[in-house]
């Protein structure tokens, strides 16, 4: 009798494969924006509690990523970009990803509640539910507005960070949410214009396919126009300062200029220069978000160093 039968698994999962389920690249955005939300809040937080709160928010974000990978395993295996993810590559079983996603969801929400407050924990639970159920299960495959809805899930972290510090919601945290929410569609649709995406094969409706490229260009302009006043408006609240206002005005002016250029172009022109404008706009959109939240951090640092009011004079 043998006590165990060990099979040799060629593609056996390493710790890194399980970590990859948590979508670490998305997590960096979650960590950065949640950190900003927590730090610019008017209520000071003990550094260790702040660290723990950011960690649990990141774990919660990772848990929703694992649930998303479990649910989307079928389309991930069709698309080139996602084919090497742990589940389609056969390294991690779908059930394992589901178990990890559920366990880390519960863990992160309970720990955030214990470390900070239950309002922040509730927001984190809602974010996980929104991304895994509302976005991934209900809407991703049924509407070309999936990017807009998915953007809401990515926009919650600064609100959670703020709630971890203050225990509630304020105009400032709603505007930080709105900034990411309105930024997401132009960011992804610019990418969709120059990436010959394989979402079609996977049966995921993308605006570029369902409504056409000219409509996508109009959508990019519309969202960018709506984004600009929200972004600048955030600078007029208590978390804004000179660094943020200058950053927001300059970046939104450039972003609007790029969106107008994209709107004016047609496919012939775009293909002629290999989507130069769209690619520049997409790259700039990454700097745009990091610059806005970085500027909020800079103003918060200046305020704490005692330069808050002096710089306005």
């Amino acid at each position: 009798m043998t006590d165990t039968t060990i099979q040799t698994h060629e593609g056996e999962a390493s710790f890194g494969d399980y970590f990859a389920l948590l979508k670490p690249r998305v997590m960096t955005l979650v960590v950065f924006t949640a950190f900003t939300g927590l730090l610019v809040a008017p209520v000071p937080v003990h550094p260790f509690i702040g660290f723990a709160a950011i960690l649990f928010i990141a774990v919660g974000g990772g848990a929703s990523g694992a649930l998303n990978m479990w649910w989307d395993a079928d389309i991930d295996s069709v698309m080139k970009r996602t084919r090497k993810r742990p589940i389609p590559s056969g390294k991690v079983a779908g059930d394992e990803a589901l178990a990890i996603g559920l366990a880390l969801s519960g863990f992160s929400v309970v720990m955030l509640g214990l470390a900070t407050n239950w309002f922040a924990a509730g927001l984190l639970a809602f974010t996980i539910f929104f991304y895994a159920v509302v976005y991934s299960m209900w809407l991703k495959r049924s509407t070309p507005q999936n990017i807009v809805i998915g953007g809401a899930a990515g926009a919650f972290p600064p609100m959670i960070g703020w709630a971890a510090a203050t225990g509630g919601v304020a105009l400032e945290s709603v505007l930080m949410f709105a900034l990411i929410f309105m930024w997401t569609p132009p960011h992804f649709w610019a990418l969709a214009l120059f990436m010959r995406s394989d979402y079609d094969d996977a049966g995921v409706p993308m605006l570029t396919v369902t409504h056409g490229r000219p409509a996508t260009r109009r959508h990019i302009l519309a969202y960018t126009v709506l984004l600009a006043p929200l972004a600048v408006g955030l600078g007029l609240t208590s978390v804004g300062g000179p660094v943020y206002l200058v950053t927001a005005v300059l970046m939104n002016a450039w972003f609007l200029k790029g969106a107008v250029q994209i709107w004016r172009r047609d496919e012939g022109l775009a293909e002629a220069d290999n989507y130069k404008v769209e690619k520049t706009f997409f790259r700039f959109s990454l700097y745009y978000l990091f610059a806005h939240f970085g500027a909020l951090l800079a103003d918060a640092a200046l305020l704490r160093a005692g330069f808050g009011g002096a710089l306005w004079l």
């Binding site: 390493s14 710790f15 890194g16 399980y18 960690l55």
Partner: protein, 62 residues
């Protein structure tokens, strides 16, 4: 017979086991740290314990 049998699965999964160990140690450290910070934030905890404590009596009179 060797006293310690090192099975192939131990080597194969050493990375995973190490990762889990680091996570667990990290979790313990975070819970310990949170406990220390939370207890410190409560401030000095003392009450009447069959012995009159003047500082508490003064506080109670305010």
């Amino acid at each position: 017979m060797a006293l310690k049998v090192e099975h192939e699965i131990h080597q194969r999964r050493s990375g995973r086991n190490m990762g889990v160990a680091i996570c667990l140690v990290g979790f313990v450290a975070i819970v310990l740290g949170l406990t220390v910070v939370k207890v410190q934030q409560i401030g000095a905890v003392q009450g009447f314990d069959h012995v009159v404590r003047p500082e508490l009596a003064a506080g109670a009179g305010e």
